[in-house]
């Protein structure tokens, strides 16, 4: 089964799991960051225009700091998210899924020059595309990766139906599927939901509307409605 999921098992035996983020959202996130940086530099340039040569010097210093430490600052201080990454729901983490540390963040950002070669991050993009967990060279060196930050689940409306206890012998995935069916009752077409409910006819002993109502009741029960 092909998937982009990245799994880590902690020493305590807990499975952590995250979705590795691929080149397309990362390129776009980088573009957003470049846009913000350009805005800041333009504003600085206008503000420092009055102090001609000194202003130029300060501006150059600032552009140096922005280029190399803007990502480091945000990655370490703001939960692994530069503004661009935040816009796309991405975050940088160590490859054991702990928050990224100063050393790792510095290293992965200093090595951007390697990823940049020969032009416009070509090496980085190719490395990201070809590596299993979408890592560029800097990521490999620093032992980091970029994953999707799990969005908080917004409350979905559940079907208006009284809960019922589920039949015995449901495994975790079965329960999750039932919950998903209840949560998506508005998104899926009614006919399709009945079709799905009919699949379980040998277990529920019901058909069509009755089967769907029953499965929805069970879903409500599992969600503790």
């Amino acid at each position: 089964m092909l998937d982009t999921t990245y799994n880590v098992e902690t020493p305590e035996g807990i499975d952590l799991r995250a979705q590795a983020a691929g080149p397309v959202p990362r390129v776009l996130a980088y573009a957003v960051d470049v846009f913000y940086r350009t805005l800041i530099l333009a504003a600085l340039g206008i503000a420092l225009a009055f102090a001609d040569r000194a202003g130029m010097g300060i501006w150059l210093l600032c552009s140096f700091l922005l280029e190399w430490f803007y990502p480091v600052f945000f990655e370490v201080m703001r939960g692994g998210q530069t503004p661009g990454k935040k816009a796309f729901g991405l975050m940088v983490v160590n490859d054991n899924l702990t928050p990224v540390s100063w050393g790792a963040s510095l290293l992965r950002n200093l090595l951007r020059f390697a990823d940049f070669l020969p032009f416009a991050y070509a090496t980085g993009v190719i490395s990201m595309t070809l590596s299993r967990h979408f890592q560029r060279l800097g990521d490999f060196a620093a032992g980091t990766m970029v994953v999707y930050r799990q969005a908080e689940k917004t409350a979905t409306s559940l079907p208006e139906i009284a809960p019922l206890a589920p039949p015995r012998g449901l495994q975790l995935q079965d329960q999750q599927a039932l919950i998903s069916l209840a949560e998506r009752h508005e998104a899926l077409s009614e006919a399709r939901q009945r079709e799905l409910a009919n699949l379980l006819e040998p277990i529920t002993g019901k058909k069509d509307g009755a089967a769907l109502d029953y499965l929805r009741s069970v879903g409500n029960w599992l969600l503790g409605k």
């Binding site: 982009t4 390129v27 070509a122």
Partner: protein, 535 residues
């Protein structure tokens, strides 16, 4: 379409995750995808080289324009392999014209510049729909994924350009310094071989990127379909059903063989018990004294006396208060302060630039207003609309916990009947009547939605919850919440009464402990105060 043979995990994905999945899928079988894209395109490009050798850029434009034609074979391959069917590159190439039959003209004319090309192509190629059916289908598919599909195309386009430049730059980096090249005629467009070479490189870059672009768009499409048609649920339900049927078969089989199986089980159990006698690992120790000695021995051993040297950089504590402002900063500020201001006359550009900035600022304000209107459009529309009609009243339950809670089943004077039954020694019926009369009134007069899924205590908790809510909002009658039916608030005494009654009823019904007669009388009195006044 057999979902059980799906080669990727079916789960709900964000559009970006679907694109990532496409990258992973294309990476897995990049060579065949690359070849089936490149060979037809290279053939066309080669033909152009022979036919119109004087216009290399036109040839490249032609190949570039015909991209949708070449995209179909990788898509065909990817769609087959997604469902576990492997098609060789050669077999796919034979299908070139067959795959391009449907809507080929639309794709190379008005749809050529569509930003969602990779996402829409599967509708033509795999669903075989065109015309109005296609438009409706695209509308549904686009509702959530159109923006990601557009960004995918934009990113692909830019990456193509950047990678070409990078490739040329890489070649340039490997030219030795000693080699003198006259660059001017090359970039002036006078040497055709150079342009043909660069264009051929561009063709290679296009072919290398095409699998990723096409398969990403395809996975975006698949992700949308998983979401729309709940493939994940279907696959899981099928698994559950199969498991259930297997188990049932197994049970039926084992029922007929039960005696034999029992014997076997017994034998196995005996075997395990005999073989798995616990092994004594540590030397047995008799007295605490001996144990203490052993502990001391172990503590004195090598394992507890290992030294490790750790070196690293640490921050020293430095007294920062000594110099608050460095000298140079003060000097800089003084210099800035005393700098002669240039007060020359206004240049002719001043007013123009000012006007430009003013216009820009106004545009920003207008944009902000439009954005805010758009952002809160739903709230605005909702506030303009009249309140919705009241939702149809729900069917009230007839029985709860096996008790009849219809109003019609109650006697005219509940309390008198309760006390009569109680004194006659029929305690269960008496208190039960009081309890169901309470539930019945709560449902009818206070619109509580009690159902079979609730326990007695949960009903009591619901009553208490409503009482707390009505305490928080002091005038619920004056301002009923919009969209929600104005529900009658519950007073504190009523809530307390329901609580006590529920406790008494649970004691009697489940523990068979009858409350004292005075308590029942008090409850009856409270019931009258709560419900009987209105009737």
């Amino acid at each position: 379409m057999n979902l059980e043979r799906l080669a990727v995990r079916a789960r709900l994905r964000s559009p970006w995750e679907s694109i990532d999945l496409g990258i992973a899928l294309a990476r897995q079988q990049w060579w065949p995808l690359f070849l089936v894209w490149l060979l037809p395109a290279a053939l066309l490009f080669g033909a152009c080289y022979l036919l119109i050798p004087e216009s290399p850029n036109l040839s490249l434009l032609l190949v570039w324009w015909l991209k949708p034609v070449f995209d179909r074979l990788p898509l065909f391959l990817a769609s087959r392999s997604l469902f576990g069917e492997s098609v060789s590159a050669l077999a796919a190439l034979r299908q070139f014209f067959a795959q391009n039959r449907r809507d080929w003209f639309a794709w190379i004319s008005w749809r050529r510049l569509s930003p969602t090309r990779a996402f829409d192509m599967p509708v033509t190629l795999l669903e075989q729909s065109s015309g109005a059916a296609r438009a409706a289908r695209i509308g549904v598919l686009h509702r959530k994924h159109a923006s990601a599909a557009t960004w995918l195309t934009l990113t692909g386009f830019h990456l193509e350009t950047f990678l070409l430049i990078a490739l040329v730059a890489l070649i340039y980096l490997f030219i030795p310094e000693q080699v003198q090249i006259d660059w001017m005629p090359l970039f002036g467009g006078d040497t055709q071989w150079f342009e043909w070479t660069v264009n051929a490189l561009y063709l290679l870059v296009m072919a290398a990127l095409a699998p990723f672009y096409v398969v990403s768009g395809f996975c975006l499409y698949i992700g949308r379909r998983i979401e729309l048609e709940a493939w994940d649920i279907e696959i899981q339900f099928r698994k559950l059903r199969d498991r259930h049927q297997r188990e049932r078969k197994h049970r039926e089989k084992s029922k007929s063989r039960a005696p034999l199986a029992a014997q076997l089980m017994l034998l196995c159990a005996l075997g395990i018990a005999a073989g798995a006698a616990p092994e004594v690992r540590a030397d047995s120790v008799d007295t605490p004294q001996e144990a203490r000695e052993t502990i001391d021995e172990v503590l004195a051993g090598e394992d507890f006396h290992q030294l490790e040297q750790v070196s690293g950089w640490r921050l020293k504590e430095i007294d920062w208060t000594q110099s608050e402002f460095p000298e140079w900063l003060i000097a800089l500020l003084e210099w800035l302060e005393n700098r002669p201001r240039d007060t020359d006359q206004e240049s002719g550009w001043g007013p123009f630039v000012g006007l430009l900035i003013e216009i820009l600022l106004w545009l920003v304000v207008a944009g902000l207003v439009i954005y805010l209107l758009w952002r809160y459009r739903e709230a605005i529309v909702r506030s303009l609309q009249l309140r919705k009609k009241a939702a149809p009243k729900k069917a009230t339950p007839e029985t709860l916990f096996g008790l009849d809670v219809r109003q019609s089943s109650l006697p005219a004077d509940v309390c008198a009947e309760v006390l009569r039954l109680w004194r006659a020694g029929d305690q269960r019926d008496g208190l039960g009547l009081l309890y169901r009369a309470t539930l019945s009134h709560l449902i009818e007069d206070y619109q509580f939605e009690f159902g079979d899924h609730l326990t007695e205590s949960e009903c009591a908790q619901l009553v208490q919850q409503r009482q707390r809510q009505s305490e928080k909002a002091p005038q619920p009658d004056a301002a009923p919440q919009s969209g929600e039916e104005a529900r009658r608030p519950v007073s504190a005494p009523l809530s307390g009464f329901v609580h006590q009654l529920t406790a008494s009823w649970q004691q009697l019904a489940y523990a068979h402990r009858a409350p004292e007669t005075t308590r029942v009388e008090t409850l009856c009195g409270q019931w009258r105060e709560a419900f009987a006044n209105g009737h």
